[in-house]
């Protein structure tokens, strides 16, 4: 079984080493997409002989990096593709929980959720204001009904990666992938995950940017 873990990284030299250490314990194929980092991210990754390094010459943002990773993994006959963050907010040990529903129950795509049972330390503003708003936008505009509106931890079959082409280069790819999964009536499951917040992550400003990207993509089509 070919399980690929795609890790988009932009200026993560301080954290990606730890992430790769944690992931190296498992037998996944690791692919880091260095998204035009200006620091030594690529240098750190190069020290891991088993990790495949793809390099964007210029910064194209997270969605673009994930699609690059997907495309590469598909070319390498991946069976399952997992999206994982480079800043250490997800647990490598939980990839197993994410992949399981695909391998054993025939799901097409699995989203990690911070809101199902497991305790993630969410900042107050995120839990009570930003996420409820994001959930509302997802439901109204995209027909997405998930407990976690912006989950970056997901696993999908190769077939799903083929049918969901990530066109949102920016952070709106989260909503885009969910919207396309619902639109294509895929078999979707949410799995509880733990999220460790090192920093606030995407603030209110990012939220508005995502909203703008989603709205413009509707106009543009």
């Amino acid at each position: 079984m070919n399980i690929f873990v795609i890790i988009p990284a932009y200026n993560e030299e301080k954290r990606i080493g730890q992430v790769l250490d944690d992931l190296s314990v498992f037998s996944y194929r690791l692919v880091v997409v260095d998204d035009g980092s200006t620091d030594n991210t690529a240098g750190v990754v190069a020290a891991y002989p088993k990790v495949t390094l793809l390099r964007h010459k210029i910064n194209r943002d997270q969605g673009a990096s994930l699609q690059t990773g997907n495309q590469y993994a598909l070319g390498e006959q991946a069976d399952v593709i997992v999206h994982f963050d480079a800043d250490g907010q997800f647990l490598a040990s939980e990839i197993e929980d994410m992949v399981k529903p695909i391998l054993e129950e025939g799901y097409d795509i699995v989203f990690g959720s911070r809101f199902l049972s497991k305790k993630s330390k969410l900042p107050f503003l995120k839990r009570h204001i930003i996420f409820p708003l994001a959930r509302l936008v997802n439901r109204l505009f995209l027909g997405v009904k998930t407990s976690d509106p912006q989950s970056g931890f997901r696993a999908m079959t190769a077939q799903t990666a083929k049918s969901i082409n990530i066109e949102q280069d920016g952070k709106a790819h989260c909503s885009e992938i969910m919207a396309k999964a619902f639109e294509q009536k895929l078999k979707i499951k949410e799995v509880p995950i733990t999220v460790i917040y090192n920093r606030f992550g995407q603030g209110m400003g990012h939220g508005f940017k995502i909203l703008k990207d989603i709205l413009f993509s509707k106009i543009n089509k």
């Binding site: 997409v33 495309q71 590469y72």
Partner: protein, 110 residues
Amino acid sequence: MIYLQILLTIFIVFILFKLFLQKQKSQISLMSFLIWVLLWLVVLVVFWLPDSTSYLAAWLGIGRGADLAVYISIVVIFYMIFRIFVRLNKIDENITKLVRDEAIKNVKEK
């Protein structure tokens, strides 16, 4: 007013001349050449005969000719911004595709 009109006329003649050169070098299509020429000629007419817009405005139910000119300008500007936006998105998409293809081609397998 007459000085402004003369100044603008010189400006428009200059633009038309540039357009003509561009057309000769086949840098623009016949269609866009005609549209731009027409547009600038209309501007010229409106500047020399401001009352001309009043007839059209009255016919459209707008009070003053000057208002009509402003309304039309705004519509045209919004349309152009929209076109530029779509174009920019397309360029962005193409850049991402180039960067992606190159990244996959130059993958460093160790």
